[in-house]
């Protein structure tokens, strides 16, 4: 139970960690000051949530590791985020498409996680919902603006959605730990979110005049720690200080 709970928490938190890292690296480089502020804010929210989750995970692990050890001192194969969130900031369309495809899932997940028997997880979820609702509003708005903006922006957003679509199905895969936690009334049965997810996503895409991708081929592996080649470089930076200066206080 303890081990499964620990794994279950990482399964949620790692997504926010890696997406937060991606969004944080855009700071100062966005298409406008307003989007810069919003993207930094999303990153900030995600890292805030990450801290709560990892602090709890550290307590559950009970082996002296801290939130930072968990965030920054695992091997690549031990990160269990979905492949979606590690995809690069190719352009603003990709950034917003990635955000949107994650936000819809994230909000559905937190809504259910609020009902968890685990009071810490339920509290973190409740606290995060408002933030994530804002993320989803922001990213949905941009899906619409870019999808229904100019021909160029439409094309770029369609490309981004088409490319990232292959990473959506993995959101609804269950690991062994997930299954155990669902049984215990702690975890969310993500398989049950799938239908609503695609319904909500498709509504926004339609409003944005975008085609809903038809491909039935999906990528997976993140939840088992098998990442895309983008992940290693992201981790090199994320872990740099902790690896270079081990066992220090900052």
């Amino acid at each position: 139970m303890k081990d499964n709970l620990y794994k279950y928490i990482l399964g949620i938190a790692d997504n926010s960690l890696i997406l937060g890292q991606r969004m944080g690296s855009l700071t100062g480089h966005g298409p406008s000051l307003e989007t810069d502020i919003a993207c930094t804010n999303i990153s900030l929210d995600l890292f805030g949530q990450v801290r709560s989750y990892y602090q709890y995970a550290a307590k559950i692990a009970g082996d002296g590791r801290t939130e930072d050890d968990i965030a920054m001192l695992r091997k690549e194969r031990e990160y269990v985020n979905v492949l979606l969130v590690e995809q690069p900031n190719t352009d603003f369309a990709y950034t917003m498409a990635r955000q949107f495809l994650f936000d819809v899932y994230h909000l559905l997940l937190l809504n259910e996680l609020q009902k968890s028997k685990d009071l810490t997880l339920s509290a973190i979820a409740s606290k995060s919902i408002k933030e994530v609702s804002y993320h989803q509003r922001f990213s949905s708005d941009w899906i619409k603006r870019l999808g229904d903006g100019t021909d160029l922006s439409h094309q770029k957003m369609q490309d981004a959605i088409d490319a990232l679509w292959a990473y959506t199905d993995e959101l609804f895969h269950q690991t062994q730990a997930d299954k155990v936690m669902v049984k215990e009334g702690v975890g969310v049965d993500v398989t049950k979110l799938k239908e609503t997810y695609y319904k909500q996503v498709n509504e926004v895409l339609e409003e944005a005049t975008l085609n809903i991708p038809e491909s039935k081929y999906f990528q997976k592996g993140g939840k088992e720690g098998i990442h895309t080649e983008h992940m290693g470089y992201l981790l090199s930076d994320l872990q740099y200080m902790q690896r270079t200066y081990p066992n220090m206080e900052w």
Partner: protein, 318 residues
């Protein structure tokens, strides 16, 4: 208007300022007042925006989650400051696009300090402690400046800056009390940022232009040299307190004048950086111009979308 009428308006205007009344956007003001304010406020706004870059450089590599969150929040605050300051500037009848254009073409300046690279994590401490520290000394008096929108923006900016300054100092405390490697990192950052921070307070009074007029309009209340002395006197004890050494062999307490004597500033370096040849001038401008150009299609799309939505609404009304 006749020359006399203008003189009259000018006299009234100066009298209002002398009475510490705030000038507002809709009020009459001399063209030079408007231009000087546009120059100073936009320079300040640009500094906030360019200033996001050296700190943004460490977001992905912050050593702990707590520090990462604080750094993100700080950089976000800077973007926010940029936003208020641009807005305040726009009240004077210049558009944000024009202001950006001045920055991107090199016509407008920004604080030279941001043309130095952030080489180690300790630079996040040094920037907060020294750069924000010097900025506050420059800026606090502006909370009472004559132009209302600027003064109000500065109240908010200063409050946040002093939070940042404490946060930066706190990073330095932690490093200075840490392992020998950390202490060395802190000292190294102080060594690199000390002199540029002194330069931040501007050229010596002898070299400084605009000062007299700026004093009258309360855009400036003390001379650069006075502000520099204040900064030094405030900062040296803070360094002493955490066991770091100011990298100035000539620095010593002058009992008589009740303040520190200090060594010669390398003004050649100052002017080289101001003129665009500092270590990172090119990188900073490339980053800003690059972001702006890469973002063009996004801004165009947002505009097109807004127009479409507007048309839809109008149709519905019909």
């Amino acid at each position: 208007m006749s020359e006399e009428q203008i003189k009259n308006l000018e006299a009234q205007f100066e009298a209002r300022i002398a009475r510490d009344e705030k000038i507002e956007a809709k009020d009459w003001m001399p063209e030079k007042y408007r231009q000087t304010h546009i120059r100073q406020m936009s320079q300040h706004a640009h500094s906030e925006i360019v200033g996001m870059l050296p700190e943004g450089n460490w977001i992905t590599r912050a050593p702990s989650l707590r520090r990462k969150v604080a750094l993100l929040a700080k950089v976000q605050d800077e973007a926010g400051h940029g936003l208020y300051l641009y807005s305040a500037c726009e009240t004077l009848g210049i558009s944000r696009d024009e202001l950006y254009d001045q920055l991107h073409s090199g016509k407008a300046k920004y604080s030279s300090i941001f043309n130095y690279p952030t080489v180690t994590w300790a630079d996040m401490g040094a920037i907060g402690w020294l750069v924000d520290g010097a900025a506050i000394i420059n800026q606090v008096p502006l909370c009472n400046t004559s132009y209302g929108p600027y003064a109000r923006a500065m109240v908010r900016v200063c409050k946040e800056e002093s939070f940042h300054q404490r946060q930066g100092y706190e990073i330095m405390i932690k490093l200075a009390n840490g392992t020998p490697e950390q202490k060395e990192m802190a000292q190294d950052a102080l060594n690199r940022w000390w002199w540029p921070s002194l330069m931040m307070l501007g050229p010596t009074d002898a070299e400084s232009i605009h000062t007299e007029q700026s004093m009258k309009w309360k855009l400036k209340r003390k001379s650069n040299d006075e502000l520099r002395q204040q900064f030094i006197d405030q900062t040296v004890p803070q360094a002493d307190l955490i066991g770091l050494t100011i990298p100035d062999p000539d620095l010593k307490w002058n009992e008589e004048k009740g303040s520190y004597d200090f060594g010669e500033i390398n003004w050649d370096e100052f002017w080289q950086v101001v003129k665009g040849h500092g270590p990172c001038n090119k990188e900073r401008m490339n980053a800003r111009v690059g972001a702006w150009e890469r973002g063009e299609w996004v801004r165009d799309a947002a505009m097109a979308y807004a127009e479409k939505q507007q048309q839809k609404k109008e149709k519905q009304v019909v």
